[in-house]
Amino acid sequence: MAGIIVDDRPYQVDERENLLQACLSLGFNLPYFCWHPALGSVGACRQCAVKQFRDERDREGRLVMACMTSAADGTRISIEDPEAKTFRASVIEWMMANHPHDCPVCDEGGECHLQDMTVMTGHTYRRYRFTKRTFRNQNLGPFITHEMNRCIQCYRCVRLYRNYAGGRDFDAFGSRNHVYFGRHEDGTLENEFSGNLIEVCPTGVFDDKTLMPHYTRKWDLQTAPSVCAHCSLGCNTIAGERYGTLRRILNRYHSEVNGYFLCDRGRFGYGFVNNERRIRRPIFRSNRHDQTIPMDKDMILRELGSLLADKPSRIIGIGSPRASLESNFALRELVGPERFSLGLSARDAGLNSLILDILRRGPASSASIHDVEQADAVLVLGEDPVNTAPRLALAVRQSVRQQPMQLVDKLDIPRWHDAAVREATHAQPGPLFIAAPHSSWFADIATETYHGAPDDLAALGFAVAHELDHASPTATPSPTIRSLAERIAAALRQAARPVILSGTACKSEAVIQSAANVAWALCKIGTPAKLCYCLPESNSLGLAILGGKNLEDAFSVVKNGAADTVLILENDLYRRADTLSVDTFLKTASKVIILDHLEHDTTAKADVLLPAGTFAESDGTLVNSEGRAQRFYQVFPVEGDIQESWRWIRDLAVASEHPGQSNMAAWNRLDDVVAALANAIPAFQRLAEVAPPETFRIVGQKVPRQTHRFTGRTAMHAPLIMHEPKPVEDADSPLAFSMEGYLGQPPSPLITHYWSPRWNSVQALNKFQSDVGGPLRHEMPGVRLIESSDKRTVTYFSEAPQLFQIRDDGWLILPWYQIFGSEELSARASVMAERIPEPALMLHPEDAATLRFKADEQAEFMLDNKSHRVPVKLNAAVPRGTAALTIVSGFTDAVLPTWSPLIRVPEP
C-alpha cells in the first residue's frame, strides 16, 4: 500500500496501480478515454490530466497524465486544481470540434462515455466555427455498425482488436487528424471477439447491429443478470428486453470468470429467443399424423394428468445438458432416479463424468478463466477452445504475456504501462503449446503447434506426464512425439502456475485422461498445476454431478416394453444419437411428451409439446466447466402458457397425483426446488449459497429490473388495456419486474445494469468494483461445487492408447466445431445465418492428392448410415489419415469420430 495525497487529503492505495486507477478506486470522478482496466495505459487521449506537486511547499505543480503516473508513496496531486480542470475541458473541446451532431440518432446515446465525460468536464458550447471532418463508413458485417465521424481517436479499438484479441483485419490507417479505424476494405470483422468493440469504444463508432432493428435506449431495457447458455464456460451476461422481445446481451463483469469480455457467439446468439419457430402454447396431437390441436394449459394438464396417473411406472424422463439443474432435478423427481436419463449417449455422458471424476480426485483443481489468463504456461491438449469455448481462447492469448512479465518487473516497468510492456515482451511470448487436431487460431503466438489424431494427442499427453514424473505410464511414442514431449515438459517444469487445457472436442477418453496425467505429474513434482476442461454445453458438468442413465438405456427400456411414455426435457435427441435409434425409439414409445422452447427434429415427432421458457424467461442454476454453479434470472414476464420447465413438471406431478411427487406439490418458488435438490444430492448441498434467496431484501425492497428512467409505462399497454396493469410478481427471485425498488448496489448476482450518478455508460462498472479491475463489491462469485480432495497420492491413468494408424480403407472423420453454427441455440438466431459456414470436409493436401481430390470438389462419405456429399477443402493442419467435418447445418457430432471411405464425386 502507498499513501497518496489527493486535494490535500491522504488516502491509501495500491502502489502497483497508476494514479487514474487509484483515483477511480477511491471514488473520484476523473475523466478518461484511452485507459481501460484490461488494456492498460497508453496516455493517448490526454483526458485524465491532474496537477502533481513535489511536496507540501510546492504551490506551482505540473500537469501529469494520471494514467501514466505511478501511485508511488507520497505522491501529492490535485484533481480539482483550476488549471487541471481547464486543461481537461479543453481536451474535450478539441474532441468535440469534429464530433457530429448525432446524439439523437446514435445508438450509444444515453450510455455514451463521451457524453458522460463531456458533461463531467463542463464543456457545453462549440466555439470552433469551421467545418467538421467527415469519414466514410465501412460495412463490418452482421454484428457491428461503423460510424467513423464519431471517433475521438482514443485507439482503444485497435488495442483491443489487435493486441488483446489477436485480430488481424482491423487497424488504424492514415495520419494526423485523418486517422481512420477500420478494415483495409469493407467486409465482416473476422475476429471472434469483435463484439467487445461495442463496449470498449467510448462513443458510437461501433455499435450493436443486432440491436438496431429493434432499437431501444439503455434506460428503456428491462434487464436481468444472466448466464450465457452457448457454451460450458458460464460467462456472466446482462440480457435486456423491451415490449416482450429480447433485444441485446451485454457483458456482466465477473472477476473470476469472464472479466470484461464476451465472445461474439454469446453476445449475438440471443436471437433464438425471438425465433418464429418458438413453441408458444401447448400442442396436442391425438395421433402423430394429425393436425396439431392447440390447447390451453388447464386442458393439456387434465389430459396429461390422467394419462400419467394410469401408469406411473411406465414413464421415463430424458433430461438435457442445456436445461437448468432445477428442471433436470424436477424431471428426475417425477420419474424417479432409476427412470431418469441424462439425454446423452453413453459415450458423451462417459466423457463428462470422467472429467467430473478427474476434477474430484485431484490433486489438480479446476481452473477458472481468470486462472488461465494468469497462467505462465499453457498446454492445450486436444481441444479447440476458440470454437468450443471461445472466451477461454481469449484468456489463453493473455497467458502468453505472463512469463515475460518477469522481465518487465526486472526492468522496473509498471505492469499497467501497456506500450512499454508490449515493447519489452512482444519478441518472446510465454510458453503455449497447442496439440490438437486442426486448431490454428493461436498460430501466431504458440511456442509450438502439433496436429495429430486424438490417439496421438493422448500419446503426447502420456509422454509429457512421463517426462515430468517417470512413475506415470507411457506407451511407446514416436520420436517426434517424444522430443516434443521433452520440450513441453521442460517448459512446464519452469512454470509457477501452469494450466493444462483439454476437453471433449476430440470425443476421446484417452485425451482427457492424458491431460489429467500431465497436471497430476506437475502437482506431484510440486507445481500447483490446474486443469481446465471444456465441455459441450452450458450445464454438462451439472448434469454429470446430478447423474442418471444413458440414452441407450432409455432406448432399451422402451424397446423391451418396460416403459412406453417418454417425457423429454429441452433435448433434441437427433443431436445425441444416430438417426435410426432415435427414429425407432420415438416410434416405439406410445406417448412422447416434449418440453422445449424451439421446434426441432424431435419435436416434429412428439404427441404433446409443452412450451418451456428460454434462459430469458426462466430462472435456474447452471454449472460451468469449472464446476462453478451460477444463477440466471428471468428477464421479462411472459404472456401465455410459457413457463419454466420445472414448473411444468411440478404441474404434471400435481395433475397426475403422481406417487413420486411427495413434496413436489409444495414447490411454489425456485428456492423450494433448490432446497429439495440440496437435500436430495449431497454434491449440491451448498446450492442455496449461489445467489440470495427470494426473500432477500435491501431496506425492505426488491432490486428493480427496470431503470429509474424506464419510460412508456402508461402508454405501452394502452391499446390493450386502459388501466396500467399491476407489475407481475416474481416469486422466484429478489428481483422485481418494476422500476421501483432498491437503487443502490445489490450483491453481485443481482446486478441488473451498471449505472451511477454521472456515469451512464458501461464504464459505470468502475463504481461497482471495490478496486477498479478487481472483484465487485458484495461479490458472490457463485459456488464451486467441485474441489479436488487434496490428496497427496496420485493415481495415474495407466491405459496409454496405441498410436493412430492410418487405414487404407477409410478416413477417420473428426468433428470440426465452428464458433458460429455448431452450438444448437445460437445457430437459431437469425443474425447468425450470414456467419455460419457451409458444410465442408477438410483434408490434408497430401491425402487429397492421393485421392486425386481438388479443392471444392464434392466428396461422398458415409455417416449415420447415410451417404452425404459435401465440398472438400484442403488444410495442412488436418492430420494425415483423418478428415474434419464442419459441425453445421444438420451435421452433428453424435456419431463422430467415425471411419468412412471417401469417394470423389465427378463434376457433372
Binding site: D102, R709, T711
Partner: protein, 171 residues
C-alpha cells in the same frame, strides 16, 4: 355597514366594464402560440417526418405516457415505426417538446379533446403526424447531423468538410 356599501359600489362599477366571458364554443378565445395543448408530430421543410425516434420525449415525460419504437429505412434515416401518446395520462407539461432535439414533437393550441371513451384518447402516429413544420419552420435535423441518409451523403451537411481520403498521404 361601510364595508357592505363598498361591496355594492364595486359591483355597480363592474356593470359598466366589458365582460371577459365569451360565447364559447361559438366564439373562440385567443390562445398564445406557446399554449400547451394537444401534441402533434411535425414534418421537416422537405415533408419528411421530423421524429428520429431518439426516445428523449418519452424519457422526459413525467407520467410516462409516450411510447414508441425507433427503426431505420434502407438508407439510414431513422423514424418511429410506431409512436403512441396516451392523452388520458398526459399532463401537458411540455417537457417532451423541450427535450425534442429535432423540433418534431410540439404542443399546439388545441385543447378540445373530450371523449366519452378513454380509449379514444390513445393517439397513434397517424393521429399525431401533421403535414407541416408547426411552430418551427426551416429546421431539418438531418441537414445538421453527420449521418448519411438517402439524398444526403457524408460531407454534405451544414458545416461539414468533404469526406477524408484515408489513402492520401498529403499533409
Amino acid at each position: 355597514m361601510l364595508k357592505l356599501l363598498k361591496g355594492i359600489w364595486l359591483v355597480f362599477l363592474r356593470a359598466f366594464t366589458r365582460p371577459v366571458t365569451i360565447q364559447y364554443p361559438d366564439e373562440k378565445p385567443y390562445l398564445p402560440p406557446r399554449w400547451r395543448g394537444r401534441i402533434i408530430l411535425s414534418r421537416d421543410p422537405d415533408g419528411e417526418e421530423r421524429c428520429v425516434g431518439c426516445y428523449l420525449c418519452s424519457v422526459a415525460c413525467p407520467v410516462d405516457c409516450i411510447a414508441l419504437q425507433a427503426t431505420e429505412d434502407e438508407h439510414g434515416r431513422r423514424y418511429p415505426a410506431w409512436f403512441r401518446i396516451n392523452f388520458s395520462r398526459c399532463i401537458f407539461c411540455g417537457y417532451c417538446e423541450e427535450a425534442c432535439p429535432t423540433y418534431a414533437i410540439q404542443l399546439t393550441t388545441d385543447f378540445e379533446m373530450s371523449e366519452h371513451d378513454r380509449r379514444n384518447l390513445v393517439y397513434e402516429k397517424e393521429d399525431l403526424l401533421i403535414s407541416g413544420t408547426g411552430k418551427y419552420p426551416g429546421y431539418n435535423f438531418y441537414r445538421v447531423s453527420g449521418v448519411r441518409i438517402g439524398g444526403k451523403d457524408k460531407g454534405e451537411a451544414e458545416h461539414e468538410a468533404a469526406p477524408v481520403d484515408v489513402r492520401s498521404l498529403m499533409p
